[in-house]
């Protein structure tokens, strides 16, 4: 099922306005059946609006939602093949775990013994065997979210919507729950759509990630695509620890674009780019690719480099950041795994040359 090319969700020019405020502008995309799909973006960017439109909790101003090819744009949530897991506080506080999970089945008039079997099976699926009699206030945040998950999954919906399901959990628990969510999704094989503002969470769980900001779908791709080869300047600034620099195209030769930074010229590999001489462009280099280089090292074209002034060292545990200032005043960071940080020591104000392997910077025309 995971490799089938059925389309589970198709969103066509979907838009939503609240009064004069545009929450979502004509977004279109498709999600394959059985995929774990993450909607990632800053708060207020429209990703929750998008999820709620797919779930039917709000009505679109424009466009359509198709689930398994069927237009459901104007159906209520319970008439769609979707089920929603909410941020938190969404368990019925007056029902124990078993009654919470069983409530949807009860509404569907499932026979009692079948209901009990399904509930027990689903509770063991989410790792809560034997919690049947517990009340929600006796559970931890992570356990409450597992119960919500069970309550949704037990209904055999084939698209599960998760609205910031881990936002209320602390960092360690969030990490564990991410892996747990991914494991459960692989086991049940249905489509998961997971909204989050946490990039680590999205990178961990998702097969594909869509970046949503300012009501637009900025770009989408696999976790590796999004992290390593972001196409849009926004993505580069949002995901990972990128240094984004701006300049003017000085010349294009084949797949190579020369960008004039005013204080230096660098070559950026950009196959199939639309950039032309004179265009204002930007490019990004991930901080872990930046190195202090000897000026002579760049002669063979294997490295691109710019002059800089050393600012400070910031120890972050796993990694150490070295901040430098470029002649135009912008700051960039070079990051090393702390245990492999053999850069030596620099003094504040010392002139250095900072560089990156040619071909590893990404050009952004928008």
């Amino acid at each position: 099922m995971r490799n089938s090319s059925d389309t589970a969700v198709e969103v066509v020019d979907l838009g939503k306005n609240y009064g004069t405020v545009k929450a979502l502008n004509a977004v279109s995309f498709t999600i394959d059946s059985g995929q774990y799909y993450a909607l990632l973006g800053p708060s207020g960017g429209g990703k929750t609006t998008l999820l709620r439109l797919i779930g039917g909790f709000i009505q679109p101003t424009a466009g359509q939602v198709l689930l398994h090819g069927e237009d459901v744009s104007h159906l209520p949530p319970n008439k769609r093949p979707t089920s929603m897991v909410f941020q938190s506080y969404a368990l019925f506080p007056h029902m124990n775990v078993e009654r919470n999970v069983a409530y949807g089945l009860k509404l569907r008039k499932v026979p009692a013994n079948e209901m009990r079997d399904k509930v027990d099976w689903m509770l063991s699926m989410v790792g809560l065997d034997g919690y049947n009699e517990r009340m929600p206030h006796e559970l931890s945040g992570g356990q409450q979210q597992r119960v919500q998950l069970a309550r949704s999954l037990v209904l055999d919906a084939d698209i599960l919507l998760l609205d910031e399901p881990l936002a209320a959990l602390d960092a360690k628990l969030r990490k564990d729950m991410c892996l747990e969510l991914k494991r459960i999704q692989e086991k049940v094989g249905i489509t998961f759509i997971h909204v989050t503002h946490n990039q680590e969470e999205a990178l961990t769980v998702a097969d594909r990630i869509a970046i949503i900001a300012d009501g637009d779908l900025i770009e989408q791709g696999t976790a590796r695509d999004i992290y390593e080869t972001p196409r849009k300047r926004f993505t580069a600034g949002f995901i990972g620890d990128n240094n984004v620099l701006g300049g003017i195209v000085a010349g294009v030769s084949g797949e190579r674009v020369t960008v004039d930074l005013d204080f230096a010229k660098v070559d950026i590999a950009a196959p199939g780019t639309t950039a032309a001489a004179g265009d204002q462009v930007s490019f990004s280099v991930r901080s872990e690719l930046l190195r202090m280089v000897d000026p002579g090292q760049t002669a063979d074209g294997a490295w691109q480099s710019v002059p800089a002034t050393y600012l400070e060292t910031i120890y972050l545990g796993l990694t150490t950041s070295h901040l430098v200032r470029l002649p135009d005043g912008s700051e960039v960071a070079a990051r090393f795994v702390s245990s492999e940080d053999d850069i030596g020591s620099f003094e504040t104000g010392q002139a250095v040359t900072i560089g990156w392997p040619s071909g590893r910077a990404r050009l952004h025309v928008s």
Binding site: G55, F57, S83, F86, Y89, F92, Y103, L107, S152, L155
Partner: protein, 312 residues
């Protein structure tokens, strides 16, 4: 002291141990002065104006009746008088009428609370609820008295119904009757059901309603399975308030009740008018016991400590 103080910005432990000695008014306002005793003021108030009258009411109910007052003693005469006269029967009827007022208030008032919580914009909810306080700005006496020209033989209701041809004869059972008392009680105390119901529903997270939409709980299931159980403590609190007032406020049956329509408050009033103070005290004692019993049952059922606690 100054010479030993280090210029370091972090105060030393030793430095904190030597506070400047406070002047007399600082001592008076300090933690061992008024601050320590200010919390006892409500206790004094409570004992003086609540606990003492209740105890005295119970004690006086066992006193001997004299011609114009009472004298210390121990007799169950007042209770005997109560239980062997029509008063006990009237008391039970009063309870039934009050229960009816509670039910009608729930039917009329709770849906208003649900409506405000679910359909009114979040920012406007409290203002809408506050509107229901407006009737309390008018004297209870005037409000209840104003029901007479509405419910009377030639009142607004009867004239309207005759004009549109639904009835030929005026309906007389809605004023100077037990039904009139119930109508008056509902009109007077309905807002309490709205307030208490709304407060309880306000603590319910919006997600809960969305989950119900998602699972496909229709309006009836939503109301019966979710809204009423979650609002139960509030509904009970509002019900107790309405029940107690319907039992005890003598004004309503005085103005709207007929010859037979009395409530417990009016029975006690009549005993005072007849200068039978121990009887009035005995009736009040029975009312207190009724209420305590009601609260006990309610607490066992709904855990009243949750009434003002957000549900999580």
């Amino acid at each position: 002291m100054e010479s030993t103080a280090t210029p370091s910005s972090s105060p030393t432990r030793r430095g904190r141990d030597i506070p400047a000695s406070p002047v007399w008014w600082q001592r008076l306002l300090g933690e061992n002065g008024i601050q320590k005793w200010v919390f006892f003021i409500p206790i004094v108030f409570f004992v003086l104006f609540f606990a003492a009258p209740v105890v005295l009411t119970i004690v006086f109910s066992f006193f001997e009746r004299t011609q114009f007052w009472m004298e210390p003693g121990f007799t169950l005469f007042a209770y005997e008088n109560f239980f062997t006269s029509a008063r006990a029967e009237n008391y039970v009827f009063s309870m039934l009428h009050s229960a009816a007022a509670v039910v009608v208030s729930f039917v009329l008032g709770f849906p208003i609370a649900v409506f405000v919580r679910r359909r009114v914009a979040k920012a406007a909810q409290h203002r809408v609820i506050l509107l229901f306080i407006l009737p309390f700005m008018i004297s209870e006496l005037v409000r209840v008295f104003a029901m007479r020209p509405v419910l009377g033989r030639n009142g607004v209701v009867n004239n309207f119904l005759i004009d549109i041809g639904i009835i030929n004869e005026p309906i007389t059972i809605i004023l100077f009757s037990p039904l009139g008392v119930i109508i008056g009680d509902v009109m007077s105390f309905l807002p309490f059901m709205i307030f208490a119901g709304f407060l309880a529903l306000e603590a319910v997270q919006n997600y809960i309603f969305e989950v119900c939409d998602d699972l496909g709980a229709g309006p009836a299931r939503l109301f019966g399975d979710i809204i009423v159980p979650l609002a139960a403590p509030g509904i009970f609190a509002g019900s107790v308030f309405i029940f107690v007032n319907s039992m005890g406020v003598a004004l309503v049956p005085t103005l709207l009740g007929g010859p037979g329509a009395v409530n417990a408050g009016l029975i006690a009033n009549q005993a005072i008018v007849a200068l039978d103070f121990p009887l009035a005290m005995a009736i009040s004692t029975i009312m207190i016991l009724t209420l305590v019993l009601l609260l006990y049952v309610g607490h066992r059922l709904f855990d009243l400590t949750k009434v003002l606690e957000p549900i999580s």
